[in-house]
C-alpha cells in the first residue's frame, strides 16, 4: 500500500458497524479531492464487503454548502449503483436550515440527525432489531 492510499484511509476511516452496514464519519473540510477520496474508499469497501448500507456521518463537517451537498449526492448515486444505500447522518438543525435556504434538493437520499437513528433505520431495512435483554 502506498503512502497516498494510507493517508486516504487514515483521513477517511470506514468501519463495519454490523453485517452489511458500514459507517464513515467525515470530519473537517470536504473539497473535490476529499470527496473523491471518500467515494473511492467507500466504493472499495462496499465492493469488498458487499454491504447493503453505508452511514456517512457529516456532523464533523465544518461547512455543508451546495458544493458539499453535490458531492454527497454523487457519492450516494455511486453507492446505489453497487446495491448499497447511503444514509446521511449528523444533519444538525443549522445544516438542515441552510440546505433548505440554499434550495438544495437531496432527492431520495435518506438523512437523519443522529447516527443511532441511521443505524436503527439500516437494521430495520435489513429486518433486524435490537431488543433489551429482560435480565438486565
Amino acid at each position: 500500500m502506498d503512502l497516498e492510499q494510507l493517508e486516504k484511509q487514515e483521513n477517511n476511516p470506514i468501519n463495519v458497524l454490523w453485517d452489511d452496514v458500514l459507517m464513515l464519519p467525515v470530519i473537517g473540510m470536504v473539497d473535490s479531492k476529499r470527496a473523491q477520496d471518500i467515494m473511492d474508499i467507500m466504493l472499495e469497501e462496499i465492493e469488498r464487503t458487499s454491504s447493503q448500507f453505508v452511514i456517512m456521518d457529516v456532523r464533523g463537517v465544518v461547512v455543508v454548502d451546495s458544493a458539499v451537498a453535490n458531492h454527497i449526492v454523487k457519492i450516494t448515486k455511486a453507492t446505489s449503483l453497487m446495491g448499497c444505500t447511503t444514509i446521511i447522518s449528523g444533519i444538525t438543525p443549522l445544516v438542515a436550515q441552510s440546505l433548505v435556504h440554499l434550495g438544495i434538493d437531496l432527492g431520495d437520499i435518506v438523512t437523519t440527525a443522529r447516527v443511532s437513528d441511521a443505524f436503527s433505520l439500516a437494521l430495520k431495512k435489513l429486518g433486524l432489531s435490537i431488543v433489551k435483554n429482560e435480565q438486565s
Binding site: I46, S50, Q52, K74, K77, A78, S80, G83, C84
Partner: protein
C-alpha cells in the same frame, strides 16, 4: 446473430445475463434485440444483468446498456443488475449518471431473491 442462448443462464426460470467484457455500444442494440426475443420466447419472468465482466465504461456504452435494460423491463419483466465494480460506479457518478433507472444489488443472491419477490408480487397484482 449473437449466441444469446450461450450468454444467458436460466436459474429456476429466471435469467442471468452476463454482459461480455468486450461489448461495445455499437453491438449492444443487436444483442438487446436478441435478448428481448429470447425473453418473450422463453417466457422469462425476471432477468438479472451481471456486469461483473466489465471493468470500465464510457458514456456511450453506459447509455446503450441502460437502453437495453429499459427495453427488457418494458416487456413486463422484473429486471435488476449486479456486479458493478467500484471503478465503474465512480466513473458513472462523475459522469452524472442517474442510477434511478436501474435497481442494483451487491450480490447475485440478493438479485435473484429480489427478482422472485417482485415477479411474485407482479403476478399477484394481475
Amino acid at each position: 446473430v449473437y449466441p444469446i442462448h450461450e450468454m444467458i443462464k436460466l436459474v429456476d426460470g429466471y435469467g442471468i445475463f452476463s454482459i461480455p467484457a468486450d461489448v461495445d455500444d455499437a453491438t449492444l442494440p443487436e444483442i438487446s434485440s436478441e435478448l428481448c426475443t429470447f425473453i418473450v420466447q422463453h417466457n422469462v419472468p425476471g432477468l438479472t444483468f451481471d456486469l461483473s465482466n466489465l471493468h470500465s465504461v464510457d458514456r456511450a456504452l453506459w447509455s446503450a446498456l441502460i437502453r437495453m435494460i429499459l427495453a427488457t423491463g418494458s416487456l413486463g419483466v422484473a429486471v435488476n443488475t449486479t456486479g458493478i465494480c467500484a471503478g465503474i460506479a465512480s466513473t458513472l457518478a462523475l459522469l452524472g449518471s442517474d442510477p434511478t433507472s436501474i435497481q442494483a444489488f451487491g450480490t447475485l443472491d440478493r438479485c435473484m431473491t429480489d427478482l422472485k419477490n417482485r415477479s411474485k408480487n407482479h403476478r399477484a397484482s394481475l
